[in-house]
Symmetry: D2
Subunit: 170 residues, 4 copies
């Protein structure tokens, strides 16, 4: 069971430019991270874009949806900026059916100290292997269904949109 | 849905003693690791022992089984040395029913560079939340049923014991 | 022989704000860094300010000069942003005599991966202990006299201002 | 002024073998460390051996002395295990004259978290550039003359052998 790993950028992959002190994208670290995790999950990595998710347009989301639909794999992990992860999840839920799609990201760039990236990648790959078809967000060790998740910007974590409906009810 | 996190030691938690150059156990890093992962999975951490799994006896395994049975939680993650992880999985499978038990560990101590610990902890917590009752090993990003896993000592990873029966068939 | 360690901020001490993705100052890491280096150099740490050196004014530089003059120690290390390190060095050279003053900094924040901070701090402390009175910049493993140093902004390192006069001639 | 960097092994360069849980030598990290430090000190790296200094024999020390004597450089840094650093310093002091020789090492391997290696390398390179001819140990941010240093094994740091004669008097 091979997994498609679609890269779109986000904090996950940001780096520090020591010449001007700004954050920027060079190339994805996901392959290195799979190496650190000694991952043996069969995976195909496809870099779609390297974007801050605040700058993502619907054209970008259309590209992501198309990549999900075209993928031969039925299980897909998408690395994505956290700021609009819930929007992309909603966009994909309306267009991609019969596939397990898990979006994940990081609050701190992988290359910096104390990043949550490796933890999130491990959990996203696990969720992608076992959850039924649907679109999910995997953050903070938990998973959320696409229609019941939001980023709590003040606190810096993800939570259910509606009280009383726990995403992990079962 | 709270998870019980039972700590038994293993490479995961080993540290370097700079006075004599040997590896040793001080205390578990699992709580720090959950912090780095920004984990919001409700979890109760219980340190049962801090042992190299090569030194684990059946008395130790009986203690682990008892902790699984006594836990109010139905979903349990156990951190464990990799060398006898498959033995403990088999031991628990014969004694613990109707709970989802996921064993995980690391090839490199968390405190050293390039540890797989954070990746494995993320995936083990995810598997523990979604897999049906049973005893599993979560390593290398994958999960294995207790009766179909072994550590390939030469290569340093986990694999199915029997060919033709993939643990992640579905 | 105690050393005065004057903190002024700079890339050295920048951190990543995971709520808004911006870099900011919290508190200095110099004490932690001395711990990592197992430093036993007697040192008094005094945080004067936490500033990006591009925002440093002559009022700030006056404050630094005053702290150098008032210090009981004759050997002083100043952590400082790299962008205007040479300006502060020149400012201090005109005001502080009969003390060994060594400015140092980092191209990458200490808290991020692959920072040069620890290396630079080790070399600055060494230079401060052995160089004769004067004002110096310690970067890239080398030391430069205050009147013969500039940051090569394009390349991201420090070099002599004048050819033919090597700062480390001897 | 080029520096000769002679590598002999020691904790500095130890790595973790994830297959058997033991520490071992692969190849030196000194070149990587100079890169992290953005070092621009002209340096020639020469790996003489990769040894735990407890296993170092006088034949090994003869080899190190010979490399010091043969080097065209007058300033030499030697990376060395901490356990017998003072013995090698004494051995070299009797055989190498008119050169500045600085021995350094680490209490924790560079590849592990929280290593003092980068800090020590920065300070050793600085001391090698400015100290007069002689044999020195650079550890804990300080430098010690060859005849006035010992490792305090219980505490894990270096100190003067004789009270009343501070190595850094001046």
């Amino acid at each position: 069971m091979r997994i498609a790993l679609l890269i779109t950028g986000g904090t996950f992959d940001k780096e520090y430019n020591e010449l001007n002190g700004e954050l920027f994208f060079k190339k994805t670290h996901v392959k290195d991270m799979l190496g650190i995790g000694r991952s043996l999950v069969p995976a195909r990595i496809n870099t779609l874009m390297m974007k801050d998710s605040l700058l993502m347009t619907d054209a970008d989301r259309a590209l992501i949806a198309k990549a999900c639909l075209k993928a031969k794999e039925n299980r897909i992990v998408i690395t994505h900026g956290t700021d609009t992860m819930e929007h992309t999840a909603r966009y994909l839920a309306a267009r991609v059916a019969e596939k397990t799609v898990v979006l994940t990201g990081a609050m701190v760039p992988y290359k910096f100290g104390s990043s949550d990236g490796l933890f999130n990648l491990g959990s996203a790959l696990a969720y992608a292997q076992v959850l039924p078809a649907g679109v999910y967000v995997a953050m903070n060790g938990r998973f959320f269904e696409w229609d019941n998740v939001r980023k709590n910007r003040k606190a810096g974590f993800f939570e259910e949109r509606r009280r009383g409906k726990a995403a992990d009810k079962r």
